[in-house]
Amino acid sequence: MAVIDYDRAPEFATAGYDSPAASRLHALWETKPGLIGWLSTVDHKELGVRYLVTAFAFLLLGGLEALIMRLQLAQPNEHLLSPEQYNQIFSMHGITMIFLYAQPILSGFSIYLFPLILGTRDMAFPRLNAFSYWAYLAAGLFMYASFLIGAAPNDGWFNYAPYALKQFNPNPNMDFYALGMILLGVSTTAGAVNFLVTFLRLRAPGMSINRVPILAWGTTTTSVGILLSVPAVSLAFFLLWLDRQFGTHFYNPDGQGQPLLWQHLFWMFAHPWVYIIVLPAMGIVSDALPIFCRRPLVGYTVVVLATITTMVLGFGVWLHHMFATGLPFLALSFFSGASFIITVPSAVAVFAWIATIWAGRPVFTTAFLYFAGFVSMFVIGGVSGVMTAAVPADRQLTDTYFVVAHIHYVLIGINLFPVLGGLHVWFPKMTGRMLSERLGRWSFWTVFIGFNMAFLPMHWTGLAGMPRRIYTYPEGMGWDTVNLITTIGAFVLAAGILIFLANIALSRRNGRVAGPNPWDGPTLEWSTPSPPPPYNFPVIPAVASRHPLWEDRLDEGLGRSSIRRGVVLDHGKEALATSTLDGEPDAILKMPEDSLSPLVATIVMTAAFAGLLLHWWMFAGVCAALLLAATIIWLWPERELGQRAEASHG
């Protein structure tokens, strides 16, 4: 067994991807072939792609549910769905899109890209990374299992008490939702810890915090947001589960409970969550849009500050979801004011993107179209958001289709558009092949037209007074035509997504070979082959500016980044830790091998939750004990990881 010294001076070398050092690193970092290798891999690129594929599958499921609803609502007095079926489908649509698609897809991008754009070899906690993926998948399947017994959540994604309590909702619908969300919270929290520590500790030497790509800023900011907000929703659901199973009095008005506590805890989480599922997407745009404008982003520093300010303010506006609940006037005024103020940092970012396009030489690729579409949709979604920030307007509009239109402009405009654009940008990096631009344009225009056709008229539907979440409506309310237009638009949007999927399927095999840097991008991921090898970089690059690959053109700083010459780190799986602010070398980290522990921990944890759902208390207890054992084994100090005292130093 190799003795690991307590310190050493790292060796410098010049090495490319075909050097002997690179093949040594390849052997060290490679995931073993076969099923066991697939189940135990901790490679962030593999896990990132799995996140993306899984989240996209949930997007398709949620989309399918939306189409069923739109068929039901296409005309008045339809009976395709029963009221209960409709309740379950619209609830699962919201849960799927908001929790199982919107955040995980952004995690997918960040897990794939973090080590590549930060110039390191993996995430700070590779096994935790695998765990967060498996737990996410398990939580999604757990919640979807409710359909198998016809008892999916049926109280909307925000699941208000008292309707969610046992006396009104005796079947296990809500228990699936409550326990599933706690399970998902474990996954999300694990992911957030990983992003935060990777950002703080694993950046390439020289990458001081004012040189970090904005995507990393967006994801890190939201990771802090997750750590501070997710406990609220996990707790809210846990208390709901206690109310339902053990007769506690949190949300039950008897016994001095208070249904509004649910709304407080839920929105204290869910409003920050809105920013959590858009800020990394804005980061995608802030990093990728400039590539197609052929110039750096205008206002890097203010965009970073706007990102952080938005997240901070996002914790102070939750009450604007509760304007109609009879709160004191002072509270309404305060939260209305805060909701207006939060538009300022958002506007800063919007003007930065517009200025970047204005001052650049735009190349009208599909990705550019998606990003430009994003900016315009964001403005519409932002303006309808400002309208509902005003208390009197909100009291008129709340619980109508106006709010539904608003949330879809926000979530499709600010999340789906950047995601589709981002997939066009980085698909070549992930697969080595380009997506077809011709199909890309077809998909963009179909998605763009379908989306606006579906949701622009919906503002009118709401102003005309149609409440949300009704399974059908009578004739003669003035809602018939707009609903039909929305339904047609929804199917056009779905056709656009199908074209995108066809593009993926065709280009994966037959697309043009991409090469390392097909878009002439400025950041470190474009210095690696497409797809990158398991170890990412043969030497750890040293960074001297925000745009390491554009330095010869921009002449930003004094020095030049060094990408092919740097520290080698090949005494086993190693990465470089750097100081948080300046990115000075600080330690050599030993990185773990592939491991089955994350998967085993996920399985016993999910089984424990299934036990709680079924009231198999003994079974749940045994699984919890197994989880504890699996965790201790996982964390057992290993000599290869530099966690144990060496006998020779004893």
Binding site: L200, L228, A232, L239, G255, Q258, A587, G642, R644
Partner: protein
């Protein structure tokens, strides 16, 4: 940029506050701190909504909780003493300190169980009872987790895994333990002090 000549020797693997696990634990403490903030928010929310009527006729008493608080604080001192020992490479002191803290930690849970059995209300009697048992229950679960951490650290110490430089796990466990103790002080203040003010 830096080159071979001007790059100093760097520590390898888990060393003190340079270990990734240390940073990870700080992030965990942040999210756990948020969890207890939301729990306490729920308590004060009800207290504001219902005023004095929210409190039970027999408030939780001080005769067990005060000594138990002292016991928990003392266990933090023991963990600190153990950790300093680890940094000096004194394995005996590390093991002794961890063992002492573990005994006090288990003692706290036992006294807390007694405290629970003395209450006149139950988890299902009113929102106060639900909050009391849920919040102190969350804390007790964290103390039990901390006891397990201390026990495992003690085992690893006895197996000779730590020396003067390799002891990051001890620091990581210690900071968690101090956090759990700090949380208890906010709970003690909430349940045992605030109702007696005014």
């Amino acid at each position: 940029m830096a080159d071979a000549t001007d790059l100093e020797r760097l520590p390898i693997g888990s060393i003190g506050h340079r270990a990734s696990g240390w940073w990870g634990m700080l992030a965990v403490i942040m999210t756990e701190g948020a969890l207890f903030s939301y729990l306490l928010f729920s308590y004060y929310y009800f207290a504001v909504q219902y005023g004095r009527a929210f409190l039970p006729p027999d408030l939780p008493k001080l005769h067990l909780s005060v000594p138990n608080t002292a016991l928990l604080l003392l266990s933090s001192v023991a963990v600190w003493w153990a950790e300093q020992g680890a940094k000096l490479g004194d394995r005996r002191r590390l093991a002794l300190g961890l063992a002492a803290a573990l005994i006090m930690g288990v003692g706290f849970v036992a006294v807390q169980a007694l405290e629970w059995s003395e209450q006149s209300f139950t988890i299902a009697s009113s929102s106060y009872g639900s909050l009391f048992f849920t919040i102190t229950g969350f804390h007790m679960a964290h103390v039990i987790a901390g006891d397990i951490v201390l026990a495992v650290l003690l085992l690893w110490t006895l197996l000779g895994y730590f020396d003067a430089r390799r002891n990051a796990a001890v620091s990581i466990g210690a900071i968690y333990w101090h956090f759990v103790d700090a949380v208890w002080l906010t709970l003690f203040f909430t349940f045992y002090v605030t109702p007696r003010l005014s």
